[in-house]
Symmetry: C2
Subunit: 472 residues, 2 copies
Amino acid sequence: MPLSAAILQTLQSIVGDKGFITNQAEIAPYLVESRNKFKGQCDVLIKPASAQEVAEVLAICNDHDVAVVPQGGNTGHCGGAVPNGGILLNLSRLNKIRQIDPLNATITVDAGCILQTIQEAAEKAGLFFPLSLAAQGSCQIGGNLATNAGGVHVLRYGNMRDLTLGLEVALPDGRLWDGLRALRKDNTGYDLKHLFIGSEGTLGVITGAVLKLSAKPKDTAVAFLGAETPHDLMEVFAILRDQFGEELSAFEIMPRFGLEMVTKHMKAARDPFHAPYHWYGVVEVASSRPDSQLTTALEEALHPLFDKGFLHNASVAKDLSQASQFWALRENMSEAQKCEGGSIKHDVSVPLSHIAEFLEETSHMIGNIVPNSRICAFGHVGDGNIHFNISQPIDMEKDAFLAHWSDFNEIVHEMAEKYGGSFSAEHGIGLLKTNEMELFREGPELDMMHSIKNSLDPNNIMNPGKILKKRP
Amino acid sequence: MPLSAAILQTLQSIVGDKGFITNQAEIAPYLVESRNKFKGQCDVLIKPASAQEVAEVLAICNDHDVAVVPQGGNTGHCGGAVPNGGILLNLSRLNKIRQIDPLNATITVDAGCILQTIQEAAEKAGLFFPLSLAAQGSCQIGGNLATNAGGVHVLRYGNMRDLTLGLEVALPDGRLWDGLRALRKDNTGYDLKHLFIGSEGTLGVITGAVLKLSAKPKDTAVAFLGAETPHDLMEVFAILRDQFGEELSAFEIMPRFGLEMVTKHMKAARDPFHAPYHWYGVVEVASSRPDSQLTTALEEALHPLFDKGFLHNASVAKDLSQASQFWALRENMSEAQKCEGGSIKHDVSVPLSHIAEFLEETSHMIGNIVPNSRICAFGHVGDGNIHFNISQPIDMEKDAFLAHWSDFNEIVHEMAEKYGGSFSAEHGIGLLKTNEMELFREGPELDMMHSIKNSLDPNNIMNPGKILKKRP
C-alpha cells in the first residue's frame, strides 16, 4: 500500500524531523549493500530515537499494512536490510550502552550500538566481548542479532545467539516486549529470544539486548601452518582441540591461491615461509591465565605433527605484531580477491568430518564447468564453515564467468546438502537465498516457519519477502 | 475425549503388544514423580519403538483430539510428564546411540537414551559430554532436552540447549521433522530447535538429537571453601572467573545448615574443617591440558583471598577421592534434607550481582512468617541459580509448616522477580508453576507463547495444561 500523506505525517510526529528523511539523495546510501548485488527503493527513511518510538512506528505500520524493513549498520551480504517500498527503519540513533554489570558479566545495550563500541566498553570494565568480524567498526549489534552473526571466535565462544541472555523487541502489533533478563538459567516457557535471533527482522524489531561477557584472555599464541591437504589440516585441528580444549579459539584454513592474492595485492603482506604449500592454516589459542605459557605449549603441540606428516611448516608468532601479520593474511583475502576480476561467493557449512571431501569434490565439479576457475575456499573450519569463493580464470571475460552464478550456486549448495551441511552458515538468507530455503527446507521445517511468521506477524509487515517467500 | 476401542486398537496396531500397556498396575509407577507431588491418571501407556511409530501415534491422536503426554525417565519435579487422561507416551524404547563422529565431535542419539549412557559413549570415543546432574543414571536425554536441563557444569558448558546442534521431532500433525543437522553454524531461517528445547513436550515429541561433545578435561582441581557471607563468596567467584576464565567449571555455595544435615545423615560425610563457618563454597577448575598444574594454580589463586578477608578457610583436594568427598557434601544435600522433616523448595535464578542481597532479604522475610525456619539456600551461583529450600523448624508440626507452601512460594518468587530473576531457573514449569507463568510472563511474552502453541499444535493435543493454561 502506498504511504498516504496522513500516515507520513503521523510517522513524522512520532520520530520528529531528525528521524524522518524523505530526501532521496539522503536515502540513497541506505538502499545498497557493499557487495552491490541489490538495489532497494523506498520513499521514507525513519530513524527512531528510542525503543518506544520504534514500537509506535510499528503500530502505525501494522494498522495500515505498511512494510517495515529494519536496518542496522547495513553491512550484510544477502539483501536482508534492502527495502522494496514501505519504510526503511534504521536503528542507528538507538546507540546507548545502557548498563554494564561486572559481577554478572553482562552488558545491556541499545540495538544500534556499533559492535566495536561494545567490545571497547567490555574491555574498559575488565571483561571481554568475543564477537569479532571484519565489519566490527560499522556493523550494529541489532544486525548481529538479527542475523545470528558468527565470525572468527565461534569455535570458542559460539555464535551471536550464544552470547545473548535477553532481548527487548518491538512487536508488529506495536507492543514492546521487555525480555531483558540478565540470567544464565531461565526455564520459563518457550525461548522467544532464540526465535528473534537470526530471524532477520521478519518477526519484530530488536531494540535492545543483554549480552554475556567473558573473562579477558591474558595470554595468546598464534601460528601459521603450511600443509599439503585440508585433510591433513583437519587432523591437526582434532589433535589441537583435544590438547587445548576451549583454549583453542580459532582455526582457519586457506589455499595457496588465497595467500598469493593477499601477498600480491595487499601492502605489507608477505608469505611467512620460503617454500610454497598447497594449504595454509591459522591457529589461535588463548587463555585467561597469564601463566599459561601458550607459545611454548603450542610449539610443543605442533612438533609431533611434522613427524606424522600432517604439517610441512609452521611458524609460531614471536609477538603480537607477528600474530597480527598472520591474521591479516587470512582477513584481507576478501579484499584482495576484488583485484582478481569477477568472483562468485558462497557461505556454507558441513560437518568437520566431511570438509576435506566436500572441498575436493566441489572443486572438481566447478573445474569441470569452467576450467581454470581459481578457487579460494577458506574459512572457519573449526566450525565447519567454508567461504567457497571462486575467482574467474585469468583469461576469461568477467561477464562470461559471472553468467555461471546460478550453476555454481547450485553445485556448491547441493554438495553442502549432500554432506549434511547448510547453504547458509553465517550470512543468513535475506533476499539472496529464498530459493534455497524453498528447496532445502521444504516440508515440515518450512511449514513451521510460515506458521510462526503468520502467528506473530499476521499482516506480514515485517521485512516481507526476506527469508520466506510469500505463499499463495 | 475418551479413548474409543477403535482408537485403542489402531494405536496397538502401530506399536505392537510390547508397546501397548493398559494394565493399571503396570502403568502406576509412571503416574507419579519422585517428589510425589502430582498423581496422574490415564488408561493407556504407549511405548513406541521408533521415531516413525511416535509420529504415527501422534497422527491418530491429532485426528481424534486425544491428549498426548510425552515422558522420558520421569525424573522431573514439576509434573511436566504426569498425564491427566489421554495417552502417556514413554520414550524408553528409543534407546539407541545412532552415531558418533569423533572429528566433528558430535553424537547422534535416540531421545530415550539414558544420560549416563551418552556420557559413557562419549568417553569411549575420547571425548566428553558435559551435562551432569543428580539423576543422570535414569533421566533420558529427551527429557533433558524438553526441559533444557542445567546441572553443575552450566558455568562452563551451558545448559542443554547449548549442547545441542540438531533435533528430530514428531509433530502434532503426524509428520516427522528431520532437523538432525550436525552443524555449528547454520543460519537458515528461524531456529526451530531452540523452540522445542525447553517446551516440555507441548509442541511435539523430540525423538532424536545431535549433541555437541567437548575435549576431555585432563586435569581438574577442586577446593572446599569456608566463608562468612555469600557476598564474600561472590567476590571469590569473580576473582577466580577472571583468573581461570572457561577453566572455571563449577562454583557452588551452601550454608552451614546444609553441611550439618549432610554430615549428620550421610554415612562417610565429614566436615573438612575443624571450625564452623556460616557459608561454604565448592569450586572446580578443569583443563584439557594435562600440564595445566591446576592444583597449584588454584592454591595460589585462593591464597590472597584470605588477606582480603573473603575466605576464612580453604582446602584444595589432594586427590580425586578427596575431590569426590567435597562434591558429595554438596550433592547429597537434597537427600539429607529429607531426614529433617517437611521442606518447601524453590528453583530460582537472579543476576550474580544480586545473589547476596536476594539471599539476605528473602531469608529475613521467611523468618518473619515462620520463625526458626531452617533455610538451606544453595546452588549453582556461578550461573545465578539458587535452590532456595526451607526445612521446618525442629519443634513444628510438619503439616502446619507445609501449610505455608504458597506463602513461601510467593515470597521467594516475588523476590526473584524484584531482582530481575526467574521463578524457574532449571526445573521448568510443568503443572507446578503455571500460576507463576500467568503472573510473571503476562503481556506480550505469554501472548506470543500462546500464538506459537496454537500455530504448531492447533488441536492442543501436546501435553495440554503444561506450561500454559488453556485460554478461554
